[in-house]
């Protein structure tokens, strides 16, 4: 059974590209969310295996969403993403409870799988 993915990003163009890419590489994209609050809601409803989570969101930032998800019982694997370099965020990625980070430009099925493993 393919891994079920929820994509969270405020840019529709990225959500569309990422869906296309991941679906072509064997993932099932079960939902898209444009901000932190709808991400939390959809994660509860859809119970995805993986949440691909943009760091910069219009309401909560990705780190806060990741921390809340990590506190759940049987949480999804959270993979943070951004068009910025991960070193821009210092220790925030490690502290957030996310499984790891994939740069937006380097997103691919294998890259995601390497983080989630």
């Amino acid at each position: 059974m393919p891994s079920r993915v929820l994509i969270v990003d405020d840019h529709p163009s990225f959500r569309a590209s990422a869906r296309l890419l991941l679906e072509s590489e064997g993932y099932a994209v079960v939902g898209e969310a444009p901000d932190g609050h709808s991400a939390l809601r959809l994660a509860g409803e859809l119970a995805p295996d993986i949440v691909l989570l943009d760091v910069h969101l219009p309401d909560l930032d990705g780190f806060a969403v990741a921390a809340r998800l990590a506190a759940w019982h049987d949480p999804p694997d959270v993979v943070l993403t951004s068009s910025r370099d991960p070193s821009d965020f210092g220790p925030l990625v490690a502290r957030s409870g996310a499984r790891g980070f994939v740069a937006k430009g380097e997103l691919s099925g294998p890259a995601l799988a390497a983080v989630v493993r």
Binding site: H11, S13, F14, A18, H56, S83, K104, G105, E106, S108
Partner: protein, 586 residues
Amino acid sequence: MIGLRRALIALAAAAAAAGAGAVALLLTSDAVPNRGLSAFCAVFISWSFVGVGLFAWWRRPHNRFGALMTAVGFAYLLGALRASSVPVLFILGYILGSLGLAVLAHMLLAYPTGRLQGGLDRIVVAGGYLVTTLGSVPIALFWNPDRDLRGTSCDGCPTNPFLVADRIEVARALEIADQAVAAVFAVGLVWLLLRRVREARGVQRGELAPVLWTGLVAGFVLTVLVAGLAVGAPVELVDAVDFITLIALATVPYAFLFGLLRSRLGRAGAVAELVARLGEAPRRSALRDALAEALDDATLQVVFWLPDPGAHVDSDGRPVAVPPDDGRAVTPVERDGRRVGAILHDPALLEESGLVRAAGAAAALALDNERLEAELRARVEELRASRTRLVEAGFDERRRVERDLHDGAQQRLVALSLTLGMARSAVAADPPRAGELLTGAQAQLDQALAELRELARGIHPAVLTDHGLKAALQALAGRAPLPVELTGTPDRRLPAAVESAAYFVVAEGLTNVAKYAHASHATVSVARENGRALVEVADDGVGGADPARGTGLRGLADRVAALDGRLAVRSDLGTGTVLRAEIPVP
């Protein structure tokens, strides 16, 4: 004014005639003891009140105080009718003999405005009038002048035409009751005057105190006199108090004159001192302090007129509302017919507006100097504010550029990267699909490039640096969504900062024309005149633009002000909008 003058002269003549009549009556009467002294006292007190009252009336025609004081003088003469041998006049003199005292109470309580201030004032004054008019009427019905009514019997008095029944004991009882009621009102008068003395403050105190104090003494001895009569004090004592009352009465008009003179001399001296003090070493707020002291008004404030923004500012250059909303009065100060500022002061000083103006005139030179300093400080204050806004605008601009890069070109490039990744995966298995993906990638790259170009132009247009203002403005005009005519540009290059400011004035102007003006056409010109660059963007749109709207024009005004220039918007409804910047060219 001439009408008033004639009326006052007529009143003076009437007072002279009435006084002469009273003297004639008193001197020829058999019923009056001490005829000479009585005549002198009556006419002296009456003429004092009338004379000073007419003077006050003339000086302050809109203040009823002068009229009241004049009325005291006339009413006081009514008592002399008691010396008349005509029965009706005699008994009227008896009934109305004390009316002058009621008018005096009215005058004292109405001092200095000429108006009674509260309900208690009105009660005491109305009571005084009642007691001194109707109060004696019942007595007159029972009093036969042949009989002794507490020192007011008279031998040789005419008969009482109002006599209903010759009942001296009834007349006496009524008289005691009348005196007792009069005493109550007299106590009320003293109490109200005491309160008035305590409340007088600041500017008023110097002028009011003499009248209030002499009025208080007169009221007090009057109270003693009436109370003494009511309780049947010995005639000798009553006579002595009566005499003191006369003296106290006579001093009231002169106390008024004294107060007027003292405050005027005091303030004239203060103005002279003000002139001397203004020559001393200048110090911030020295002018205000000197004026506040000269006019004895601690709330006084000096404000300066800045013709350029057309506003009043304080000595720190901060804007001040004139007239102020706290009820203080405004006296403008001019120098050589030119407005230099204003004095905000206690409205009580308006009674002496000539004095405030004199003080203002004395201070005009110093005020003008301080005005220049205030102007400088206002300018520094404005510079400080505009510098802060420029720095903040710089930060905002950088945040905006970061946001635009992140949300625009960067996202396009991310999508491009993902698309290229997919195309690479598809190239072997599904070449047509790979071709579609590459076509999409091309479009994403074109969009990213367009966004980067737009962004770079917003930061600084390269064409301006490389090819000058004319080329840059032509490019702007070409990109505008409506026809733009470029009517003139300087032949030679301007300094880079001036060119840049001029470019952004035109850019912002054309953006606003496109967004708001509903114009069919716009003209742009940049000219170099008299050491200044004049930049103008005009349209034929609807007008009515509000220069305070939005941050674009504000930021532009700061940018122009940073070069010591100024930005103006003229936008009348229906006549289009003209955005005009003047920038000095160093």
